[in-house]
Symmetry: C2
Subunit: 402 residues, 2 copies
Amino acid sequence: MRKPKIVLLGAGYAGMMTTKRLMQQLSIEEAEIILVNKHNYHYQTTWLHEVAAGTIDQNQSRIMISDVIDPLRVTLVEETVEKINPDQKKVTLQNGELDYDYLVVGLGFEKATFGIPGMAEHALSIQSFDKSRYIREHIEYQFSRYRNGEKDKEGLLTFVVGGSGFTGIEFVGELAEKLPQLCKEYDVDLSEVRIVNIEAAPTILPGFDEALVTYARRSLEDRGVEFKIGTMIKECTKDSVIVGDDNEEIKAETIVWTGGVQANAVLGESGFELTKGKVNVDGTLRAPGYEDVFILGDCAWVMNQETGRPYPPTAQIAIQEADICAENIKALMKDEPLKEFVFDNKGTVASLGGRHAMGTIFDGKKLYGLSAKMMKHVIDDRYLFMLGGPRLVLKKGKFRPF
Amino acid sequence: MRKPKIVLLGAGYAGMMTTKRLMQQLSIEEAEIILVNKHNYHYQTTWLHEVAAGTIDQNQSRIMISDVIDPLRVTLVEETVEKINPDQKKVTLQNGELDYDYLVVGLGFEKATFGIPGMAEHALSIQSFDKSRYIREHIEYQFSRYRNGEKDKEGLLTFVVGGSGFTGIEFVGELAEKLPQLCKEYDVDLSEVRIVNIEAAPTILPGFDEALVTYARRSLEDRGVEFKIGTMIKECTKDSVIVGDDNEEIKAETIVWTGGVQANAVLGESGFELTKGKVNVDGTLRAPGYEDVFILGDCAWVMNQETGRPYPPTAQIAIQEADICAENIKALMKDEPLKEFVFDNKGTVASLGGRHAMGTIFDGKKLYGLSAKMMKHVIDDRYLFMLGGPRLVLKKGKFRPF
């Protein structure tokens, strides 16, 4: 009898943790496991704002897949997914094709620019490891250009962040820490530098408790961040943004867009039925009509039965989905009943740069400042522990004893 | 009786060492000493190729002037010199004016592009601390652009160095060390990267012993450097150079010109008589016709009486000139006879990146490889010792016990 073939697309939080769980729960005789990913490394998407600001060493945020996934158990295929053919149980890759018995789709998100003119062309995005370190380099390059005699150019040291959601605010926090350091390194007066955060919604961090929002805003304003809230970005050019009802032009050579994400376009191109760009999965995390296709993470529209609204696209949810997905694949193989996904909210902490942070944990308890920051590190390290045990925590963790 | 006022223009090797010697040899009652410099720091011009390649920490190459020059003894004026009026004994600064009794001009060099079209606009140069760290940033930026999806652009990772003189070859050597590191950091295959060194003269390192030249070239070629010797650069564009009799176009987004330097333009604009852009000083290092104006370093045309040719513009010569200049100013003040400058050649060592180097010492003995590299460090540290004693060697030296 042929071994069933499990193919996982994407080594993000969902794909990596599902692979890990399958490796733990299935023996080598029970299934063939294939992980398809563009690179031979996994990166921590929730740390990319730090890579982009240059506040952590870039390599701390990425993990070689072979460090946590046994290559004798799982075949890594370094490839780009072009299309899924769920009716034929095949995946088209840039340079090949794969068939599968069970498919796990964890292809993550893309930048969504809502048709704002110039945004797709001119704005940077904290979207992948490569794009994030490009932002880091771009920021330093601006400082060196300033010192290289281009200082009269307006906007050279103005950094605009579009969007005040989780990523936008976390990135602004890192900039507020990093830019004064760059000023020192490049002999630039801090007053030459502007950080402007622009958000169309009436508040930053929608969905967060009001006290936390107020704390975050004050913390960032204290460090020089300018907010333009309730302000639409109308257009983005090579060296400026046009904002608000009066079409104010802000000269800026660095515009980072964090204002919108959408699921990977492969889903739509593969013919899956979409809800706001995502696949509206059933309670067992399978695509409607396909018993053998699981859709996880930012590609999945998962309803919260309690609130009647979908869960937000977070790492925490993706990781929890991975557990259920692995168990359900095993159940399918053994013809056992499948489990329903239930989210266990462990809280959310937003880093605001340096020793600053805020958030809620478990029962909704609020945390501020250093204790929130410590909790953020605990959350980060917990994931590393699940993925690669104590060795990975020591190697890539935020608290490291040596 | 009014104290004589000694004004020194430029805190390069010549200006710094003269200031240091004057401070040591004259008491606070004997003279007022004023040092004029664009920045509050001195930098090691002979280390700038390392700053530009990113092979040393940029700050190791610069020294705060206040760390080695006592601010109670010497007044530092952070200003840009616009013109010298030797007949009125005045110096015009960007924002002011200074008069002097004795003047020391050590304003260094500028890029000379010999009218090659596009060179002044598009080529970078290893000319100052700021321009050198801009090159460092620019190089890293190219790698991040490549990883950010621009990889199909030709010339993105081609690094052209114009000129195979001392600086050009030393810089090429550093690139040969640094670029493989950047490839590793940015997940780029080394075969994507080109280093091309272009020289119009029939050989690299003119003036060096043939065996040393052969060694240097082989060492660099072994590490992947391409040489185009006896090849003129005809034109330089935003993203290419046109070279040779057949007008070959080499696509390159990084062009660093080391092929020519000339003395600071202030000299000509101040009415000094020039020989190839420099002031042909007498044996006591004074400008013809002005008893109280000393011209040192790259601004001075100093004849080697033995060979009948001028000395090359090196740090070693500038530092030795400083000693004579300080003594001669003291002699002038005391109405004593002045000394003639005699160059004591201690040899020359060229670094070729990493553990590679070659050169001659003292009696013309040739050194290769690691022993040459060690000697290079000794030379570098010796200057630091003269300038700031053992404390400065520990702080900024190349050999550091801790």
